[in-house]
């Protein structure tokens, strides 16, 4: 026997015509330092990283920048609209991101108010429409609502990314049935974005059939982010492997593994 089938090599996924091997997308925020950011992201094996767009600090223009530790030459940058609560803020932010980096593959999120920052779907639809019209390829953070998800896909979003739980909550998949429903209805990739707390949550998302998982705090806020990054990489691979393998049926009665014949008397 040589190698493990499907876990490596040919099991890739595609979004907006770009092909990736890693099914783990990681955020670059909330780390203690840029050094730690770089180390954890390298350990995660991620090929796509989300980044935020913010004002330059004019009083310290020479401060080290994210690009120096997580190079856009090594990773696909996925600019986000974190912190945007209206469609117009989100569209402005991503136009700036496109000018800064030249990328049209973006993560759209239009958020409702604290404490839940739940996706504002009216604003999300409005922003998605404007961005798609302007030539962006939109991966969209959204409610775990199969009807809304389908509408976003029909509008032309390139990936649907329902939340597992509120951003940064670490509560895991609070509604796995809806995540599965969205995946079953979709022809574009479906990713769980937000809510992942630990490795088993990521594995569970992959076992539901999701194409990939997007997380940030679960690694950045772990006591040992590099170790958690390695665990997440393994969890996503394990969950994907289990999905491809096809789990055994649920059975509410015992079904012994050892033969019932040849027992001593």
């Amino acid at each position: 026997m040589d190698g493990t089938p499907a876990m490596t090599g040919d099991d890739t996924w595609e979004v907006a015509g770009r092909r990736f091997r890693s099914r783990l997308i990681v955020g670059t925020g909330r780390y203690k330092s840029l050094e730690e950011t770089g180390a954890a992201i390298a350990a995660s094996g991620a090929e796509i990283v989300t980044v935020a767009v913010r004002r330059v600090n004019l009083s310290d223009p020479g401060a080290p920048m994210l690009q120096d530790f997580v190079s856009p030459k090594d990773y696909t940058y996925l600019p986000n609209t974190a912190g945007c609560h209206t469609a117009s803020e989100a569209v402005r932010t991503l136009r700036l991101a496109r000018e800064a980096g030249g990328w049209n593959l973006v993560k759209l999120e239009v958020l409702g108010p604290p404490p839940y920052l739940y996706p504002d779907m009216a604003g999300t639809f409005e922003a998605a429409e404007a961005l798609i019209k302007d030539g962006f390829e939109v991966m969209v953070y959204c409610a775990d609502d199969p009807v809304a998800a389908k509408r976003l896909e029909d509008m032309g979003c390139v990936a649907i990314m329902p939340l597992g739980a509120p951003i940064g909550s670490g509560l895991g998949l609070t509604n796995p049935f809806m995540i599965r429903s969205i995946k079953q209805n979709a022809k574009v990739p479906v990713l769980v974005d937000a809510g992942i707390g630990t490795a088993s949550d990521a594995a569970k998302a992959m076992e539901l059939g999701c194409d990939a998982v997007l997380l940030n705090s679960a690694i950045a806020h772990a006591k040992d982010p590099v170790r958690m990054a390695i665990a997440m990489k393994a969890a996503v691979e394990a969950g994907r492997g289990a999905f491809l393998a096809g789990r055994m049926p649920w059975n509410y009665n015992a079904d012994a593994s050892s033969p019932m014949t040849g027992l001593i008397r």
Binding site: R30, V51, V53, G62, M65, Q67, R95
Partner: protein, 70 residues
């Protein structure tokens, strides 16, 4: 004394010489133009045009870059 005009950069008022270009302002601040993007009065300014963009009194500039985010 050369004439100055007032503009707003990232929410802060700033005096610049009348006729100064956007490229000159970015140089004066000390920014690597390859790593930032600029919006002027809510319109994106293409990077290739920085030298030709002359700042006007009352201009509102947003200068952004990528930082860590989820």
């Amino acid at each position: 004394m050369s004439e100055t005009i007032a503009i707003t950069v990232n929410g802060e008022r700033r005096e610049v010489a009348a006729g100064e270009s956007l490229a000159a302002l970015l140089r004066a601040i000390g920014l690597d133009t390859r790593k930032v993007a600029v919006e002027r009065n809510e319109e994106i300014v293409p990077r290739s045009t920085y030298p030709e963009v002359t700042l006007a009194a009352g201009d509102q500039l947003e200068i952004v870059h990528f930082i860590g985010g989820g």
